[in-house]
């Protein structure tokens, strides 16, 4: 039996239910045993601009999206104009037949540069600038078209159910689209009804309305549509499978590992994490009274960072969550936490910079900024997760590192991870221990917070414990925490703090620093969310008998030079893959390893990489046809 690898794309104006449509579809597929990888793309806009969700469904583990779309469903014209070329020969498009005459000029949200490119193409193919024109192109390519009037579905349904309200309910379009799609691929209908019931569990009336609409649309597709060669009829479900969204990995990680204080300032795409934490602020504690996370919305990111440090000084595991622009505001305080040896975790969901950049789009833009964040020399950890599942466990580790080494930890996530949805194994809350380092519960007399010790780490008191009085200052200080400008003491203090960088490299287990997926003549070095599409691209090449190595560096500062060096010693060609313009990781690699990188595969369109485009570039590299810098462009 051939393997299932199916991509479904749903698009529409922002606010029209694209996301909830995708939510239903992905849950149904996951319920029916499939592996799911989905990603949402959206404008910095509340209502009206084009938003779409690409869901890849497979019967084997997948880590990324591909370029090819098997089935596209659209309830607006813009989705067709923007995505028609992605649908493969043999694939299908379900669309609203009432839109066929729509001209490109009728769609006000089509921006000029895109329209110009589209017109040029339509002109070259001698097609009119309409939906009909575009559909002619895909039809010639071998795409099946499934026209249906969404309005008449509602009208008929309203008559049949004697519910006139339904007639004008355009917000049902998403459910119609989802149900038509599921009918077409012959997904068992029970799972659709069950999923809608679960999603609207608290709104009985809305659940029923949606279920009726779904049922009617599903049956419409099975009765009226021609058969489709790609089917999703369900497979054996693996027990203990989660369907999780990007921000939930770090949020659940924080709850589980005992983060009890999170001040934050709203910013895309980071705030979802804080909102999720606050929505679940009361925590169940095994054999104890309930715990809680105090989630505080502050006046700006500076205040968020200041409060986080204040919380950490009381011995509370404290964190904040932000994105590039907010992180930029925090940097002075990160230095304060550094000189005062305060354990804090900053979860940075990176996005496309510089400045406001592409505020709702992806970029691995803040690596070098994170490594060098703050003025002056002080120890810190920069750590990056490669996927959502990793991010749950990494969050616990980040707090352990922060408290063990008494340093600020910057945990790098990004927009790609934040707006992805995946299936993965249920998180194991007992895998990562809780290690609080030299945090004191009681203090004897004669306590000195910054006491010189053999390992360079002083026992840590917390505000409010008996005999634990200490002083902290952003100035250089003596062992008690009082200001000093003595040159000899300054050197001792500086050396004490900075010695931690070596300690970090020595004490963090190797497998937490670097993940090796094997090495070969051609070996990829990368970090963060590029992992998923890289793994899938390597898999594609493997099927062709081509073996490519991959090293994922998780600990980015201090840099695990020795580990990486020994892993790549036999590699002939080094390929750096990341989502930014200047190959920031490549620079860091170069600085630490002192070895040139042979090829760069980079993407800075603001859209996440697909495995297809990485595969294409790797293939070119293998065949000696690649540019030194391969720049990826896929995605609307």
């Amino acid at each position: 039996m051939s393997e299932v690898d199916f991509t479904w794309l749903i698009g529409g104006p922002q606010g029209s239910g694209v996301e909830s449509g995708a939510n239903i579809f992905s849950r149904v597929c996951a319920e029916m045993g499939y592996q799911v990888f989905g990603k949402r793309e959206f404008y910095s806009n509340i209502k009206g601009e084009h938003s779409y969700f690409t869901l890849r469904i497979a019967d084997h583990k997948i880590h990324s999206n591909v370029n090819d779309v098997t089935l596209m469903v659209s309830f607006d014209a813009e989705t067709i104009f923007r995505h028609f070329e992605e649908v493969i020969s043999g694939g299908g498009i379900i669309y609203d037949s009432d839109l066929e005459k729509t001209k490109t000029d009728d769609v006000h949200t089509l921006d000029a540069p895109f329209k110009e490119r589209l017109h040029k193409e339509l002109e070259s193919k001698n097609k009119p600038f309409t939906i009909a024109g575009v559909l002619e192109i895909v039809k010639e390519k071998g795409v099946s078209l499934f026209p249906v009037s969404f309005k008449s579905i509602l009208t008929t349904l309203a008559e049949e159910t004697e519910n006139p309200r339904l007639k004008g309910l355009v917000r049902m379009f998403n459910v119609i689209g989802v149900s038509l799609s599921l009918g077409l691929v012959k997904m068992p209908p029970d799972s659709l009804q069950k999923t809608i019931g679960a999603i609207f569990a608290k709104k009985q009336v809305i659940a029923e309305l949606n279920q009726q609409t779904a049922n009617y649309s599903y049956n419409y597709a099975t009765a009226k549509f021609d058969s489709f060669s790609h089917l999703l009829t369900g497979i054996q479900k693996e027990p203990g499978t989660l369907l999780v969204q990007g921000h939930q990995g770090t949020a659940l990680g924080k709850m589980s590992c005992g983060c009890r204080f999170q001040p934050y300032y709203p910013i895309t795409p980071a705030s979802d994490e804080s909102v999720f934490l606050e929505s679940n602020e009361i925590l169940e504690i095994t054999n104890d009274r309930p715990g809680s996370t105090a989630v505080i919305q502050t006046e700006d990111e500076i205040a968020a960072m200041g409060m986080t440090i204040g919380g950490a000084l009381t011995g509370t595991r404290s964190a904040t969550c932000t994105s590039g622009p907010g992180f930029a505001l925090m940097t002075e305080m990160i230095g304060w936490a550094g000189i005062n040896e305060v354990p804090i975790v900053i979860t940075n969901y990176q996005r496309s910079g510089p400045s406001t950049g592409l505020p709702t789009r992806h970029g691995q833009d803040d690596l070098l900024f994170s490594v060098f964040a703050g003025h002056g020399d002080f120890p810190k950890i920069v750590y990056a997760s490669g996927d959502i599942e990793e991010s749950f466990y990494d969050t616990g580790n980040c707090f352990n590192y922060a408290e063990t080494f008494q340093v600020p930890v910057i945990h790098l996530m990004d927009k790609f991870l934040a707006s992805s949805v995946i299936t993965c194994k249920r998180f194991d809350t007992q895998r990562i221990p809780i290690n609080r380092g030299k945090l004191l519960e009681t203090v004897d007399d004669d306590y000195r917070r910054f006491e010189f010790t053999d390992d360079g780490i002083s026992p840590r008191s917390r505000l409010g414990i008996d005999n634990g009085i200490f002083w902290s200052t952003g100035d250089e200080s003596d062992e008690t925490g009082h200001i000093t400008e003595d040159p000899v003491l300054r050197v001792k203090m500086m050396d004490k703090r900075m010695s931690r960088l070596d300690l970090i490299l020595k004490n963090i287990p190797e497998e937490e620093q670097v993940l090796s997926f094997g090495t070969a003549d051609h070996t990829i070095i990368s970090w963060g969310s590029a992992k998923g599409p890289i793994l899938d691209a390597i898999d594609m090449l493997k099927k062709e008998g081509i073996s490519i190595g991959f090293i994922q560096v998780k600990l980015l500062h201090p840099f695990p030079t020795d580990i990486v060096k020994s892993l790549i010693k036999d590699t002939k060609t080094i390929i750096d893959i990341e989502a930014n313009h200047s190959a920031q990781f490549g620079k860091l690699f170069n600085q630490n390893i002192q070895r040139d990188i042979d090829y760069f595969i980079l993407k800075y369109t603001g859209r996440a990489m697909t495995s297809t485009e990485i595969y294409d570039s790797l293939k070119k590299i293998i065949e000696n046809k690649a540019n030194k810098r391969e720049i990826l462009m896929h995605g609307a």
């Binding site: 319920e31 499978t241 989660l242 369907l243 939930q248 659940l252 589980s256 590992c257 005992g258 009890r260 204080f261 001040p263 679940n280 602020e281 009361i282 925590l283 169940e284 504690i285 095994t286 009274r289 309930p290 715990g291 809680s292 105090a294 505080i296 502050t298 500076i302 205040a303 200041g306 409060m307 986080t308 440090i309 204040g310 919380g311 000084l313 009381t314 509370t316 404290s318 305080m333 249920r426 998180f427 809350t429 007992q430 990562i432 221990p433 809780i434 290690n435 409010g464 414990i465 008996d466 634990g468 009085i469 200490f470 002083w471 902290s472 200052t473 952003g474 100035d475 925490g481 009082h482």
Partner: protein, 320 residues
Amino acid sequence: MALKLADYKTDVHNDWCPGCGDFGIVNAIQMALADMGIQRDKTVMFSGIGCSGKTSHYINTYGIHTLHGRVLTFAQGAKIANPELTVVAVGGDGDGLGIGAGHFVAAGRRNVNMTYIIFDNGVYGLTKGQASPTLKLGEQTKSLPSPNTNYNVNPIGLAVASGFTFVARGYSYDVRHLKDLIVQAVNHKGLSFLDVLQPCPTYNDINTRDWYAGVDLMDEAQKRHSRIYKLEETGYDPIVHYANEVEINEKLSQSLIKSLEWGNKIPIGVFYKNDTISPYTTRLQDKIPNYVENPPSKQNISKNGYSNTDISKILDSLEV
């Protein structure tokens, strides 16, 4: 054993200029702490940056010397995470009303149960006397190359408008009166603000000790007329007695009008006190019922070295 005034002092060398008004404030804080018999290791002094920033090093409680303009953020974070702490934050007027003005306003809205004291001298001392937010438009203190081009901030008015629920002004050379104000401020349930007029003998040659004492206002009988007078001696009632809008608005307006008095008559004392507004603790308790008994800093987060947090219900909801 009862604590004495000396117990609240550290032996850190104090390097403020001779005659600095800051000495009076630090003395008043230490006296207030001793008066209240406050437990040293349940108290945290937070300070900003500048001459006043060194205050936390001179007081023998927990002392956190933070960043320029940001003292309130650190202090609120600690107090929210551990509501058992007595928290006092201090800083200069440039620190709190210039670079930190945004935090000042936001802190008022939160009404966290703590005290903020501004050392108000009209200049940035440690950077050699630039104009600070409370210096009046057109005034030229001695190290300014030209007269001040900015209008002044009204600290009392800004505090009242931002939601501070206890707003008072002290004078650093009336240490006893200032000490009483600090005691009231610390005992207030909510965010209390103290604007302390504090002559800078080195850089502010306008608002000097003699100027406040009214040496220039001698009458024909050679009698001095101090500019400073005490609100409580004039029958001024700062307290909001009833939780109704009319009463609150009246007391707010009254304090705002009073705060505009300057020149030959400068009021000190309590301008506004409103216990009818919920402190932040109560607002958190409304969301998290056991917040006070089991705040973030008191929670036990592990058992045998592993997580004791049970997130299985959330995981169940995500399981397919």
